[in-house]
Structures are given as structure tokens and as C-alpha cells.
């Protein structure tokens, strides 16, 4: 697409000064050994295939999770209507065509769980860390391809268990994606339909997912640290690699806390321990649980749960930074500031978890501490936003589909970010906590914005992944319909400030039954968003097989190393030697034109 004749250096296949990398044993280039479908596509150890496995599994879950949201949106928009198709689809969970409260909560729970963990963690980090890290740092593969493969298959196992839990008699977990005890802490006591076997499976699935995430994360970190090609100093790493590594570090440090919470919770459920339970009275009877604390679980959960939102958004930030720079034909503005602010978010991100717990009755003094750290995070976030905007300033913005998703990301990041300033302030949070304002906030910033980062990445790297182009017009339609209708879904939720979330119906309350057709507008917009994603799905799979073939080695005119590989790279990535890196990743529109990272510095040229 990009006309690079003016900048022949970028596509120059002659990599002068290349040397064999220490980890390159040469035999990777050999593509002649027998590969069956099973070893090539299923139990593959090629990071590129594993990345596609993560991506396609992520897409599968995105559609399941999205479709679930449509079902419960129907209930919210028209609580007094019936939809016969729902009974056909869900049977006794929607008798008479109305979603039962039990299954409504199951849908809400599984929607949240799969989107947060399977799509925006597995699907986002899994896809792009696997795909980009070796290709952009100049490595043949991950540090441990076997661990990498295991990481996917643990993810697959987690997916399998979670999917299976949808079909059991008592239904899937229905106690919220945060899985707070005591609602989810008692197995055989019928406090909640989904807290029986469904929740056991949920815990099993999440535990498997944590294993997957740790195997992946450790691999990403050690690969970035150890396998960089000659000349690829840390300060020359593209921001997306930094972002993926930071996300992996967050995951490696935070996920174990969730695992411990999951294990202790299962102890409470199966062995009648009392880690999270105390003085519970059911049907007039005091149960034997003594001395535990439900609030302790929340501390453990949010010790992961809050870094988790950065695990989701930081890779999206990284993708946006790099993709934006390519299509703006400008260096990302303030590389170091971007890096430091990302690091600040990672570090401070570990000291804000209890802002999810301002109204649990915890000490107000503690609330002050967490409020200070939480609002402090707004500063690096603001720096990043201003840097993105400045990157656009006086650029030559090729408004391609990935570029539009980057711009959309910045808009969403601002809209969803400023509402965080309300929620991080305990004085304001009292009223907003657990209401639609929160739903609007996190869906915009870590739902839609993270998805925009993911789409920017998919559209941008699709030619590298599959050797074909996606259809551009469908991409533009996908972008604009999604941009407009996703805002139509989530922006109006701010107007329902103070309306409790996770309500099956608002009709019982005068206070919350005032919005007229607003819920219906939101639901219709949600259907439109979903339809646009079907268009994306068609485009994605059609283009894999029938898309316009890529003919240029470097179709976007990017400077990073992945575009120096063959159009369809085999296992091992580079047919010959791995290129040596001579400069940072952002030499766009310099006096010498756009210059790839593998091009040696000219005499007198200043490094950045």
C-alpha cells in the first residue's frame, strides 16, 4: 500500500553487517523436514502459529462473550417483554421467553470473565507478545518454544473447562466475575445456583488460565531480556515490546495472588475451612464457619484485579504507539517519556487495588492512601495521551484502518480515563460505586479501548501474519460503525449515574426506573456493534484464504525488523542471518527518509 520508492532503504533486502546471532544454530532455516498438519498447526512450537492460535481462540471467546451481552441487554431494555427465540436457545433458563435471573447473572459473570481473561489477556497479550517479540527483537523464536506451546494448551484447557461449564445442569458460575465469597464460598449450600459445580469449574478454568499466563509471561520476559539481536539495546526496543514485557511482569507478579485466592476459596468450598467465611446464618441456622474474612478475599482478588486492567491496557498502548508512528510517518513523540510513564503505571498500579473497596468498611485512612496513588496514575496516563496527540501534530497521517483504530483508541482512552478520576476519589466513589457509571468507565477504557488496540494490531500485522491484506473497505466500515455504536452503548451509561449495576430489572424501584427508552437505545446500539464484528469476522477469515496477496516485503513502510523477514516467514523467521540493529525504531521522515532499524548509521548521523 505504501509507496516506498522514495525510501529504498526500508525494503533493502541486503542486510549489510549481519552476523550470526548467538542463539541461532542455523538449522531453523531448514524447512524441508516433514511437517504434518498436527505438528505444524496444532502442536506447533513456532511462535507465529501459537500467536494465531491465541488470536483465533480469543476471537472465538469474544463472540461468545459478546453474544451473551446481547442476551442480557435484551432483558435490560425490555424487562417486561418475552423473546420466544430465547426459550428455544436456552430452554429452561428462559422459560416463556424471558431470561431467568439465575441465568442473567450467569451470563453477566461469564461475559465478564471471558472478556477480561480470555479475550483481553489471552487474546491480546498472547497474540501480540508471541507474534511480535521474536520478530521485532530479532530472534528465531521464544526462549522456550515448548513452554510457549504449553502456555497455549493450558489456555485451551481453561477455555475447554469454561465452555463445558455452560452446559451443566446447575448452570455456569453466576456470582460475578469477581467471585466474591460468601456468595461463591459455599459449595453445597444453595445460596446461588451457579455457586455449585459451575463455580468449581470456573475456579478450575481460571487456575489453568493463570498457569498459562505465567508460562507465557515468564517466556516473554526472558525472551526480551536474552534473545535480542546484535545492536538491539533496550533503549532501541519498539514501545510495543516494552509494553508487552511490562504486561508480562505485571502478570507474573500479580496472578499468583489470584491463584492463592482461588485455592483458598476452593478449600473453603470443599474442605469447610474458613479463610473467607465468618458467622454465616442461613435459614435461621448459624453455620460452623468461624473467623475468616470475606474482605481478605477482595484484597487478594484486587491485588491481581487492578494490575489486570493494566495487563490489558498496556499492550494496547504499546500497539497504538507503534502503529500510530508508522502511519503518521513520524517518530512516536517522547519515546523516553512514554517508557517512563508506562513504567510508572506498572509500579503505581500495584498500590491502588483497594480503590475497588472504598465502601467495604475499610479504614477511611486507608481510603486516603489509595486515593492518592490512584489519582497519581492519571499523571502518566495524561503524559501518554498528550504524547500521542503530539505524534499526530504535523504528521502526514495515512488514515488507514489500523491508524483509525489508533485514533479511536486515544479518544476512548480520554473518555474512559477522565471518569476514572471520579471513581478514584473516594468522596465521589461512594455514590458511583457499583453503578452504571463504573460499567461505562471500565467498558470504555479497558473494554472498547483495549479492543481498539487489538484491532489496530490485527489490521496492521495481518499482512505479516497471513501474507495477505484484509479488505480495506470492510475495515473502514468496521471501524466507523464500531466507533459510533460502541460510544452509543457506553456513553449513555454515564447518565445512569447511581443506578446499581448487575440488576436483572429496574422495575421494582421508582428511583431507577426513570430513563424511559435509554436502555433500549443502548441495546440496539449493542446489536449494531455486534453486527459490525460479524463483518470483521467475515473479512478476517475470507482474507486469510482469499485476501489480496502481499507483494511488497514491507507494505506499510515500517522500520521494525519483522518487515525484513520474507513475506511468509517460516519457522526461524529469517531465511538468512538475523539482521543487526543500528538505530531506534522511529526514524520516519528523517533527512534520509524513512530508515529501517537494520540500516547502519550514516556518517555524521545523530542517534535518537
Amino acid at each position: 500500500m505504501a509507496d516506498l520508492t522514495a525510501n529504498p532503504t526500508v525494503v533493502n533486502p541486503n542486510h549489510e553487517g549481519q552476523v550470526d546471532h548467538g542463539h541461532d544454530h542455523g538449522h531453523h532455516d531448514d524447512h524441508h523436514h516433514e511437517e504434518t498438519f498436527l505438528t505444524k498447526y496444532i502442536f506447533s512450537m513456532d511462535h507465529k502459529i501459537i500467536s494465531k492460535q491465541f488470536l483465533i481462540t480469543g476471537i472465538f471467546w469474544a463472540f461468545i462473550g459478546g453474544a451473551m451481552s446481547l442476551l442480557f441487554r435484551l432483558q435490560l431494555a425490555w424487562p417486561e417483554s418475552t423473546f420466544p427465540f430465547m426459550e428455544t436457545l436456552l430452554g429452561r433458563w428462559a422459560e416463556g421467553g424471558q431470561l431467568s435471573p439465575d441465568f442473567y447473572y450467569a451470563l453477566v459473570t461469564i461475559h465478564g470473565t471471558v472478556l477480561v481473561f480470555f479475550v483481553l489477556t489471552g487474546g491480546l497479550s498472547g497474540t501480540f507478545a508471541n507474534f511480535l517479540i521474536p520478530l521485532q527483537i530479532g530472534a528465531r523464536d521464544m526462549a522456550s518454544p515448548m513452554m510457549n506451546m504449553l502456555s497455549y494448551w493450558f489456555f485451551f484447557a481453561a477455555s475447554f473447562v469454561m465452555f463445558g461449564s455452560l452446559f451443566i445442569e446447575t448452570g455456569p458460575a453466576s456470582g460475578g466475575w469477581t467471585a466474591y465469597p460468601p456468595l461463591n464460598g459455599m459449595r453445597d449450600i444453595a445460596v446461588n445456583k451457579g455457586s455449585g459445580l459451575g463455580f468449581d469449574l470456573w475456579l478450575t478454568s481460571i487456575s489453568l488460565f493463570i498457569v498459562s499466563s505465567l508460562l507465557g509471561g515468564l517466556n516473554y520476559i526472558s525472551t526480551v531480556i536474552n534473545l535480542r539481536t546484535r545492536g538491539m539495546t533496550l533503549s532501541r526496543l519498539p514501545l510495543v515490546i516494552w509494553a508487552l514485557m511490562f504486561a508480562a511482569i505485571l502478570g507474573v507478579l500479580a496472578f499468583p495472588a489470584l491463584l492463592s485466592a482461588a485455592v483458598l476459596l476452593e478449600f473453603d468450598r470443599l474442605l469447610d475451612t474458613s479463610f473467607f467465611l465468618n458467622n454465616i446464618v442461613i435459614n435461621g441456622e448459624l453455620l460452623a464457619y468461624k473467623g475468616g474474612s470475606p474482605i481478605l478475599y477482595q484484597h487478594l482478588f484486587w491485588f491481581l484485579g487492578h494490575p489486570e486492567v493494566y495487563i490489558i491496557i498496556i499492550p494496547a498502548m504499546g500497539i497504538v504507539s507503534d502503529v500510530m508512528s508508522v502511519h503518521a510517518r513520524k517518530p512516536i513523540f517522547g519515546y523516553k517519556a512514554m517508557l517512563i510513564s508506562m513504567l510508572a503505571i506498572v509500579v503505581i498500579g500495584f498500590f491502588v487495588w483497594a480503590h475497588h473497596m472504598f465502601v467495604t468498611g475499610m479504614s477511611p485512612v486507608l481510603g486516603v492512601v489509595f486515593a492518592i496513588f490512584t489519582l497519581l496514575i492519571a499523571v502518566p496516563s495524561a503524559i501518554k495521551t498528550f504524547n500521542w496527540i503530539t505524534t499526530l501534530w504535523r504528521g502526514n497521517l495515512r488514515l488507514t484502518v489500523p491508524m483509525l483504530f489508533c485514533i479511536g483508541f486515544v479518544s476512548l482512552f480520554i473518555t474512559g480515563g477522565v471518569t476514572g478520576i471520579f471513581l478514584g476519589n473516594p468522596a465521589v466513589d461512594v455514590q458511583l460505586h457499583d453503578t452504571y457509571f463504573v460499567v461505562a468507565h471500565f467498558h470504555i477504557i479497558m473494554g472498547v479501548a483495549a479492543f481498539f488496540g487489538m484491532w489496530a494490531g490485527v489490521y496492521h500485522w495481518f499482512p505479516k501474519m497471513f501474507g495477505r491484506h484484509m479488505n480495506r473497505t470492510l475495515g473502514y466500515i468496521h471501524f466507523w460503525v464500531t466507533m459510533v455504536s460502541a460510544y452509543l452503548v457506553f456513553f449513555p451509561m454515564h447518565f445512569m449515574t447511581g443506578f446499581p449495576r448487575r440488576y436483572w430489572s429496574f422495575t421494582n424501584f421508582e428511583t431507577f426506573n426513570t430513563m424511559g427508552n435509554l436502555q433500549a437505545i443502548i441495546t440496539i446500539a449493542a446489536f449494531v456493534v455486534f453486527a459490525a464484528q460479524i463483518l470483521f469476522l467475515i473479512n478476517f477469515f475470507y482474507s486469510i484464504f482469499r485476501g489480496r496477496p502481499v507483494t511488497e516485503q514491507n507494505p506499510w513502510g515500517a522500520t521494525t525488523l519483522e518487515w525484513t523477514t520474507p513475506i511468509r516467514p517460516g519457522h526461524g523467521n529469517w531465511a538468512g542471518d538475523i539482521p543487526t540493529v543500528h538505530r531506534w525504531a522511529y526514524d520516519y521522515s528523517t533527512d534520509n527518509g524513512d530508515v529501517g532499524q537494520h540500516v547502519p548509521m550514516k556518517e555524521g548521523e545523530a542517534a535518537h
Binding site: 500500500m1 460468601p182 503518521a328 468498611g361 503524559i383 488507514t400 477522565v418 424501584f509
Partner: protein, 398 residues
């Protein structure tokens, strides 16, 4: 049939989009090929799409900013009334508005700049991007400004937060040293699946003790066939004897501090009074307390609402203007199971303490109505019951 039609329309729609996509891709390559053939290099595909999307971005910005502010104004009358019915609530709302002004300004300015740049610097064939990699001055400026803004919001926020949550039970900061006329209303709210148990002290102004152990809950239940979920010490603590249990309406008095002890029996719940800006989680085994001072009685609040257009509209269900039947409500805001959405209660604020006392005196304490007879029936059975009992023992023997 209708499902079939919908499905058919959808499939047609997707097919149409798909072919629009295919055709435009083909036409692009034809245009490109033709242009190359004619030796005409004025056609630039990237310029063409960047132009379209540049204008679309501008249109989006205008539409989005307009709708977001217009929507806020349009739905404002339907939101939870903006007049908070508590002293601290008004402080919290000021904090909300402070944050709103700061963030609305950021939102507006950054969006205008973002989309203006997208439009202004959309791809032009002959434009070369300006190589601008960093500027420490700029970074310092936009580190400092947000830092100052956040410091301001944190500082004012903490003050409002402390006023809400760290006051002691004497309320001297509001009423001065002598506030004997500001008798606080103490009460206890306990969430369960799916409702609230509300307990007020009687004339003695103190709630009966609770002892959460086997003896006071399980054994009491087994002995007297009367559940005692709260573990109230009915037999050894006579202060419980005049305690009142309330069915559907919680009662406060205007200008009098309300001290609410919140808890839960089974799972987490959250005590939420939207009009009072009160929210506190109810945790089994961990008592929490929340204090506030209501500012308007229900009647006064209705009077205030009666001046607003939305509340003047006729409520179809009652045939009266909305404000006439307005009530404060209590809701649960922590997912607690399948009927989480139905844990509703009304809240009434009396004008004077006398009205409260009048209501209080008209109630029969739970001990008198239910507990005492149940205990008496077992401990001092009447003759008839003894006879019945013996009869049943006889029967069991046979």
C-alpha cells in the same frame, strides 16, 4: 416467520457489505492501474481515503461532542435528583461537580485537538511529516499541569471524605457542644437473601445485645421453634424487649443524626441510599457503621421536586404527578444472588422527632408480639398444651 425474515435481511445485508468491500478493492486497483497506464500520477489512493476519513473524523468529533453534552443535559432531569439529602452528601456532590468541571474541560479540549490534528494533517502526497521526536519542555508542562489538577482534586476529595467518614458519634462539629435537642436515631440494618431486617431501639434508645454463637442462634431456634438469626440475647438482656422490627419503610428524622449499623447474615450485600449519598457494604461477621444527617423531610423533598418539569408529569401507574408519590428508596449494590435486583425498601424522613416518637409508640415490640409467647409456650406450657404434649408422647409410644 418473522425470525426467518430478519435472518434473511441480515444475510442480505452482510452479503451486500461484503460485495461493496470486494468491489471497492477491485475498483481501487483498476483506478491505480489506469492512472499508471496514462502516466498520470495525480491520483493517489492514500490521499483519497485519507480525505474521506479526515472529513468523517471531523464529523464524528462534532457529533460526538454535541451528543455527549446534549445527552447529559437531556437526561439530567431523569437522573437521581441532584439535591443530596444529607450534609455530607452535599459535600460529596460538590466534589463530583469539581471533578466534572476539570474532566469535562480535559475531555473537550483533548478531543477537539485530537480530531483537528487528524483532519489538518491527513495524508497529502507532497507533505513531509515533521521529524519531532521529543521535547523536555513539553513533557514537563504536561506532567506539571495534570499533577497540579490531580493534587487539587485529591486534596479537596480527602477533605470531603474525612468529613463523611471520620466523624465521631457526638456530632459536635455540626451542632456545637450542646446538642441535646439533636437526639441521634440509631438503627441496625441486616441484609439477607433477599431483603433487609431493620431494627430500631424502643423507648430506651438502645438496641438489645447480639451474641452470635450456637447457643443464641441454633439452640434458641431448636428450643423455641423461632428463628433468631441475629442472635439477640432475648433472655438475659432486657434492652432487647422493646426493640422494633420494621417491615417496609426505614425512618429517619430531619436534622437528627442517623447512626446505621449495617451487617449481613448470609452473603455480602450493600446498603445504598441513593438520595442520601450513602453506601456501605454489609459483611457477614464484620459489623460496619455509617452516620449521616438528613436535611429534608420526605414532604419537603417532594415540595422541592414539584418545581421540576419531569416530576410534574403524570405517573401513568398512579394517575398523579410524579412528585406526589415520590419516596426515598433503599437498594442493594453488591451482587448477592438471583434476586439482588429486588432488595427494595422505602425510606421516610420525618419532619420532627415527635412524629418519629408517635410512630414508635404505635408499634408493638417484636419481643412482646412474637418472642415472649414463643418462649412461654415452651418454658411454661399452658395446661391444654401439656395435655396435647402428653397425648403426642402417648401416640409416639404406640
Amino acid at each position: 416467520m418473522s425470525a426467518f425474515i430478519i435472518l434473511a435481511v441480515l444475510i442480505l445485508l452482510f452479503t451486500a457489505f461484503f460485495f461493496i468491500g470486494k468491489i471497492s478493492e477491485t475498483s481501487m486497483s483498476i483506478r491505480k492501474a489506469n492512472a499508471t497506464e496514462d502516466g498520470d500520477d495525480s491520483y493517489d489512493d492514500m490521499e483519497y481515503v485519507s480525505n474521506i476519513n479526515g472529513y468523517l473524523s471531523l464529523a464524528f468529533m462534532v457529533g460526538f461532542l454535541f451528543l455527549s453534552f446534549y445527552g447529559t443535559l437531556h437526561y439530567l432531569p431523569r437522573m437521581i435528583p441532584k439535591l443530596a439529602n444529607s450534609i455530607h452528601g452535599q459535600e460529596l456532590d460538590k466534589m463530583f461537580m469539581r471533578t466534572y468541571y476539570v474532566t469535562a474541560a480535559i475531555f473537550l479540549i483533548t478531543h477537539v485537538v485530537l480530531f483537528a490534528f487528524v483532519f489538518m494533517y491527513r495524508y497529502k502526497r507532497n507533505r513531509k511529516a515533521y521529524f519531532f521526536s521529543h521535547s523536555n519542555t513539553l513533557e514537563i508542562i504536561w506532567t506539571t499541569i495534570p499533577a497540579i489538577a490531580m493534587a487539587y482534586l485529591v486534596y479537596t476529595g480527602i477533605i470531603a471524605w474525612n468529613e463523611t467518614f471520620t466523624k465521631d458519634n457526638s456530632f459536635t462539629e455540626y451542632f456545637g457542644e450542646d446538642h441535646s435537642d439533636k437526639m441521634p436515631i440509631t438503627m441496625e440494618v441486616t441484609g439477607y437473601q433477599f431483603g433487609w431486617t431493620v431494627r430500631y431501639p424502643g423507648a430506651d434508645a438502645s438496641l438489645g445485645n447480639r451474641v452470635i454463637d450456637d447457643e443464641h442462634i441454633n439452640e434458641f431456634y431448636a428450643t423455641y421453634s423461632l428463628p433468631n438469626e441475629l442472635g439477640i440475647d432475648w433472655q438475659d438482656d432486657s434492652t432487647s424487649h422493646d426493640d422494633l422490627f420494621v417491615d417496609d419503610t426505614i425512618r429517619f428524622v430531619k436534622g437528627h443524626p442517623a447512626i446505621v449499623n449495617v451487617g449481613a447474615l448470609d452473603v455480602l450485600h450493600s446498603f445504598y441510599l441513593p438520595h442520601f449519598r450513602i453506601k456501605m457494604d454489609c459483611v457477614p461477621g464484620t459489623p460496619n457503621q455509617i452516620k449521616f444527617i438528613p436535611l429534608y423531610s420526605t414532604e419537603e423533598y417532594r415540595e422541592i421536586l414539584s418545581k421540576e418539569a419531569y416530576w410534574q408529569e403524570i405517573n401513568e401507574a398512579t394517575g398523579q404527578p410524579r412528585w406526589e408519590t415520590f419516596n426515598f428508596e433503599l437498594a442493594c449494590t453488591e451482587l448477592c444472588g438471583s434476586s439482588h435486583w429486588a432488595m427494595q425498601k422505602y425510606v421516610k424522613v420525618y419532619e420532627t422527632m415527635d412524629e418519629f416518637y408517635a410512630w414508635q409508640n404505635a408499634q408493638t415490640p417484636y419481643y412482646v408480639s412474637t418472642v415472649e409467647p414463643a418462649i412461654a409456650a415452651v418454658d411454661n406450657p399452658t395446661e391444654e398444651e401439656v395435655v396435647e404434649d402428653e397425648a403426642s408422647i402417648e401416640m409416639a409410644k404406640n
